[in-house]
Symmetry: C2
Subunit: 217 residues, 2 copies
Amino acid sequence: MLELDKIKYYRNYEAGQPVVWSGDQLDFVASVVTGIAALTQTMEDGRTQMVGLLLPSDFLGRPGREITSFDVTAVSDLTLCCFRRKPFEKLISATPNVSQRLLEMTLDELDSAREWMLVLGRKTAREKIASLIAIIARRESKLHLTRPEDGFRFELPLTREAMADYLGLTLETVSRQISALKRDGVIELLSNRQVHIPDFRTLLAETGDDADGGMPA
Amino acid sequence: MLELDKIKYYRNYEAGQPVVWSGDQLDFVASVVTGIAALTQTMEDGRTQMVGLLLPSDFLGRPGREITSFDVTAVSDLTLCCFRRKPFEKLISATPNVSQRLLEMTLDELDSAREWMLVLGRKTAREKIASLIAIIARRESKLHLTRPEDGFRFELPLTREAMADYLGLTLETVSRQISALKRDGVIELLSNRQVHIPDFRTLLAETGDDADGGMPA
DNA sequence: CGATTACTTTGATCCAGATCAACAAGGGGC
DNA sequence: GCCCCTTGTTGATCTGGATCAAAGTAATCG
């Protein structure tokens, strides 16, 4: 992959800044280095739905199609490692490994998207919130190499509004359900964003998923 | 692709029959020849959400992972063209074209899944129904090489319940909204399943999408 | 054919979550 | 510190779709 180094460069975005708008041409593909980006869709009347979260190491842009179908926005301060499209595409057509790796990543994303469809289509507001917190918790624990079963604490990277956009809810409902989970001892809040999970099993029980079902990314 | 012929065979399913259950080992990958299959997820308490529809030429199964994460069911009578997994995987690692083609198909499916997330998360029942009918209409028109703008008729391949599972609604709501669209002259029903669209634009206006936005598969 | 079973429509009622409306709590910047 | 501004909470009310309940229609089978 040494050739990649020759065509890569970095871009930085502040929290809230747009990376690309739906329908725009994206003349690069990129991988998230630090921070979080959100893929969202917006209807004419302003209703919006987040359709994906990009975390460090996630990939942005699809080889072979230069037009994005979703808005991409920096949720937190964001650094992207970008590759100019043309040389990148030449590279992947030359090296089968890259293409296979990309396929695998894409299939994982597809699985995640489909699992999220269950969340959006069938879960209650409380289950949605619990699911989202569980996903973030799982990721954090992976990052810090702790087992999520042990109680631990972390920071929610999303505003209440962003959570609402992700979950197909309103921000008021998000706030209320977080309060309810706190009242019921499922989670503890050290501050608005700082969450402590006393018992991960209890949280999982609130997601509505069976025992150890996988969760979307 | 001549080598593929050596390892392929056919399977038939009757409407309603399961193809695989979530968590089962899938020792083949396949492509739909005729009929329709549904990918669904089910919660412990029986709530189900359809997460994908497989139509003729769509692909089932992912190279590299033998366990399916979704139930697959025949919605109508179904014929699959199957490839035994091992030789198929050997083939795609040998021929970069196949792998690239698969990547492209998967990216398309991912886009579709994400567009469906907007439908599930933010659309009203009426918009959901209109969206579904528009999608099916579009497909049918593609199949018959007619432009969907011209009024035309076709058959809904799904029961009201299957539509409800796809749209995150109950079957009663589906029935009511179809009746409402009929009452308002957006669609005409020749029978339960036979739909006639007098004016495609009118239908599109009911989906909530802006003008010519792409629709999920 | 009539009967049984599956699918669909329609009605009445209920409730989870949306909407409308205040208000609290940070958190910079000056 | 104080003010402004963004973010979050909480309350009151409303409503779209769920739920519960009956019929109506169509396909299937003996």
